[in-house]
């Protein structure tokens, strides 16, 4: 393990954290809020620590995949611990565990909250909550790779560890350029979203924060009713934003370089469109008695479906009241997640496709024991190593799910609450059913449960292995 290299990159992460924190500090100053002081203080400390850390440049620059994974997960943990401080110092969230839960939920773009009333928060704190979604959506190390002149082979290891999906590839030969393109697209979408929301009638502040939340597919809102009390136009814009950010960013790149044919050749994308549309139609039909007209019903069904499949977690209606069939569809969609390489969480549609095809192959082996068949996706053969890792991913996913579910049952809440709390955090959705549904929150859980849920959120965002590798004793041997 190259500890000095990891330390060096962590210091750079803190430097960026200081930069991030200057924004809510600014918001606090603009609105003359006391909490600006706590943001400013944490910002200065981060900056000082990073300055000291940067003075000692590592001599040994050996950096393997192992170091990449460890660096990414440690960065996320450090980032969470530090980002939680302003909430706690300003006294807006009284317990540090709760502040940490809120931050982890923000950075992992989950959107699960322990606050019973979000409207009492200061504007800078609300801004920070939504901004953490934006940071976490594309990932902080990807940003560092885009900005800093980190040369050498290790940047690929960092990119791979932080980006979601079974196969992480580059768009262009250089990691730095790839990261710049990703963030460019990300910022473009955010900017367009903010302007559209303003055109739809929101104030600048509301438009910026909500578009952070939607583009990062996070789900923190500014109101207790999430997005339920906004106008139809605003809700429509948010639906489109969430939907767009559930698409693999490679598609946008291909569109930008004018290769629409290749962009739309992605099977995952077609499945994504299909699943969203079909689910919305089914829910509209199922809930038609609850809405005045079909348009209204479809509008809310579509918003809810997009919100859940992209693992955002915005809610416009309390779907706890909806029929069981609709609720089950939403639950399944929340496990599924959107496309790989997007800002969404969950299992990812491409993994689902690969899993289904390997099942099909396995069945065909029984019928034709000597048959030889490879799994294809997007017109290419999926290598057996990828298939294997997808299947193992599925197994680990189930084990962690069940383990967390078991610990949560100690709270003695009802079955639905427990299982959907795990599903909502593990898949980075945020909103579940029962007590953690649209009108509820996570404040009632015990401290132990909260830590388990935080673990789930991090594991879900970083796609299992980076966090799990921290727990393996072999990682830390010299």
């Amino acid at each position: 393990m190259n500890y000095s290299m990891i330390r060096y990159i962590l210091c750079r992460v803190l430097e960026f954290e200081a930069l991030f924190m200057s924004l809510p500090c600014l918001v606090g100053i603009v609105y003359r809020e006391k909490s600006a002081v706590s943001f400013g203080a944490v910002m200065l400390v981060c900056f000082a620590v990073s300055l000291i850390g940067r003075r000692f440049k590592p001599k040994n620059k050996v950096f393997y995949a192992k170091e990449g994974f460890v660096t990414v997960s440690l960065s996320w943990i450090v980032l969470s611990l530090v980002s939680a401080l302003p909430f706690y110092l300003s006294g807006e969230i009284t317990s540090y565990t709760d502040a940490l839960f809120e931050t982890v939920s923000g950075l992992t773009t989950t959107g699960a909250t322990i606050l019973t009333d979000v409207e009492v928060l200061s504007r800078s704190a609300q801004f920070w909550r939504c901004f953490t979604h934006w940071i976490g959506g594309m990932g902080v190390l990807v940003l560092i790779l885009a900005v800093l002149p980190l040369s050498g082979s290790y940047n690929m290891h960092l990119l791979r560890a932080e980006s979601p999906g079974p196969r992480v590839g580059k768009l262009v030969p250089r990691v730095k350029t790839t990261a710049m393109i990703l963030y460019g697209i990300y910022m473009g979408i955010t900017l367009t979203g903010t302007i559209s929301l303003m055109l739809a009638g929101l104030s600048v502040y509301d438009a910026i924060t909500l578009s952070f939340s939607a583009v990062g597919t996070g789900g923190f809102g500014l109101l207790n009713s999430s997005v339920g009390s906004y106008s139809v136009a605003v809700q429509l814009v948010l639906t489109v934003l969430m939907f767009i950010c559930g698409i693999n960013f490679q598609v946008f790149y291909l569109l930008l370089i004018k290769k629409p044919k290749e962009a739309f050749a992605s099977e995952e994308l077609r499945y994504y469109f299909g699943i969203v549309f079909l689910s919305a139609v089914l829910i509209t039909l199922n809930t038609r008695s609850l809405f005045d007209n079909a348009f209204d019903g479809f509008h809310h069904a579509l918003l809810q479906v997009t919100s859940v499949i992209t693992t955002t977690g915005f809610t416009s209606r309390d779907y706890n009241m909806w029929p069981e069939f609709s609720k089950t569809i939403l639950f399944i969609l929340s496990m599924l997640g959107a496309c790989a390489g997007s800002t969404s969480g969950g299992f990812k549609i491409s993994r689902f496709i690969i899993t289904v095809r390997s099942i099909k192959n396995e069945v065909s082996y029984v019928i034709h024991p000597r048959s030889f068949k490879k799994i294809h996706m997007d017109g290419h053969v999926v290598e057996s190593s990828v298939t294997k890792s997808v299947l193992v991913y599925a197994m680990i996913y189930i084990f962690i799910f069940l383990g967390s579910f078991l610990v949560l049952s100690l709270n003695n809440f009802d079955f639905t609450t427990n299982i959907t709390a795990v599903a909502a955090t593990f898949n980075n959705v945020g909103a579940g059913f029962g007590m953690v549904g649209p009108s509820g929150n996570y404040s009632a859980f015990s401290v132990l449960s909260k830590f388990v849920l935080m673990f789930d959120m991090l594991v879900g965002r970083l796609e299992l292995l980076p966090i799990l590798i921290l727990l393996a004793p072999g990682t830390w041997k010299k």
Partner: protein, 451 residues
């Protein structure tokens, strides 16, 4: 620049690594997915699995925007086809590796007709390098500049040599023969020495100067300067063939040991003057019987690096022959250095050097300003020859008054065929070529030497 490398073997991987380090955007193509995966995860390059001669694969790799395609797969025909298609598809520069002697003889025709920018033949290049060393066996390595007028000779200082524990200033005062010691390698360290630098035994020095002057220098040192009279070659591959051709033409006797009967008969057709021995070159008795102990030069060119190293070590123990060992694949340069095998030839570095020289020249809008490029001691030092094409801030000013970057040493100026070893009062003129040694990598033009 956007560069596509087809073939991820030894040379392909070395190229991908070095070109990417020089700041180019590299895409590699190979048919084996594990090789591509390996290269793209170790270096900052993009990998594509497929046949590099395929139009759609090249499209996929971005041939439209590419500036250069380098084809270094194992097959000559595939390389040529890759370049041909790339030329038509993307209208970019193309470099192909062609090693079959049948094609090499017609190399200019192929190059012209297929519109290739450059054809490289690593075997031929390696043979050329070996032949140069055999002409002056006391040297570890000889490189040439200014169309052969300037020589860079790498020499290891022996115990008790008159150079030991002397400063460079006093050496040049004693010798008075117009050569310059431009690079000193001591263990892992490399120096671009100043006048007060003191040499030690076992240092490897690189001496630059005109051919006449460097011969004079080594004569004064009492180092034998006569060339080897015969060469004992083990392994009859392409390099052996090219080498034998060159050695025979300058009157060095050649003995080649080759175990494949078919190849032996081929070689005997091609090289009627050479002595061909059909047998296993690793057989101790055979080597003794064929007179290895009396040989003046021993060249190990089998296809196995380990075998070459073993053979050279054996030859070192029983003879006084000049040893030349070819190492293709293994990446333990520093261990091989420690074995003290004399000259070690790495064809993959030779090829990479040639291509990098071309790429740097391409980057210059005016055309090629780098005439020659050599790299030493794990690429820590570069020896470059620049052509001064036009008026620029270095022209016409005494060298003492130039504000040079640190770690640059001007070694030699070729002024209309006169080789000048520069002093403080020398001036550079338009049309001169300038040889310099530097630890700064990536110099593009003579102007870059100024602060």
């Amino acid at each position: 620049m956007q560069i596509i490398v087809v073939g991820c073997g030894n040379v392909g991987a070395t190229l991908a690594e070095q070109l990417s380090r020089e700041g180019h955007n590299i895409t590699v193509i190979d048919m084996k997915s594990d090789v591509v995966h390996n290269v793209s995860s170790n270096f900052d390059v993009m990998g594509i699995v497929g046949n590099g001669a395929g139009y759609s694969i090249q499209k996929n790799a971005g041939i439209d925007e590419a500036d250069l395609l380098i084809a270094v797969t194992g097959s000559d025909e595939l390389n040529l086809l890759c370049c041909l298609i790339a030329k038509k598809a993307g209208d970019c520069h193309t470099i192909a590796r062609v090693r079959n002697p049948v094609y090499s003889r017609e190399i200019n025709f192929i190059k012209e007709e297929l519109g290739l920018s450059m054809i490289i033949n690593p075997e031929d290049a390696a043979a050329l390098e070996i032949a140069r060393v055999l002409k002056f066996p006391s040297a570890i390595k000889i490189d040439t500049f200014a169309k052969g007028r300037i020589e860079l000779v790498k020499y290891k200082i022996e115990e008790g040599s008159s150079l030991c524990d002397q400063s460079l200033k006093s050496i040049s005062a004693q010798m008075k023969c117009g050569v310059l010691i431009c690079v000193v390698e001591r263990g892992d360290e490399v120096f671009i020495p100043a006048g007060d630098f003191i040499l030690r035994a076992k240092d490897e020095i690189s001496v630059v100067g005109s051919v006449k002057n460097s011969v004079l220098f080594f004569k004064k040192l009492k180092v034998p300067t006569t060339r080897a009279k015969d060469a004992f070659i083990v392994g009859g591959g392409e390099t052996a063939y090219y080498l034998a051709c060159q050695l025979l033409s300058i009157g060095i006797d050649v003995k080649i040991v080759e175990k494949d009967k078919k190849r032996c008969s081929e070689l005997s057709e091609l090289l009627p003057q050479a002595t061909l021995i059909l047998g296993d070159g690793t057989d101790r008795n055979l080597l003794m019987e064929e007179g290895l102990p009396q040989a003046e030069a021993f060249v190990a060119l089998t296809n196995f690096d380990e075998e070459n190293i073993m053979l050279s070590l054996f030859a070192k123990s029983i003879s006084k022959a000049k040893l030349i060992t070819r190492v293709h694949r293994i990446a333990y340069d520093e261990i091989i250095e420690e074995l003290d095998l004399g000259s070690v030839i790495y064809p993959k570095y030779l090829t990479a050097e040639m291509i990098i020289k071309y790429v740097r020249a391409m980057q210059n809008s005016i055309g090629s300003n780098i005439e020659t490029l050599y790299r030493m001691s794990n690429d820590k030092v570069e020896i470059l020859e620049f052509l001064v094409r036009e008026e620029c801030p270095v022209v016409g000013i005494p060298l003492v008054e130039l504000n040079l970057k640190p770690n640059i040493l001007l070694c030699s100026i070729n002024h209309k065929g006169n080789i000048i070893t520069p002093s403080g009062q020398s001036r550079i003129g338009v049309g001169d070529t300038v040889v310099l040694a530097t630890t700064i990598t990536g110099l593009q033009d003579i102007k870059d030497i100024l602060v």
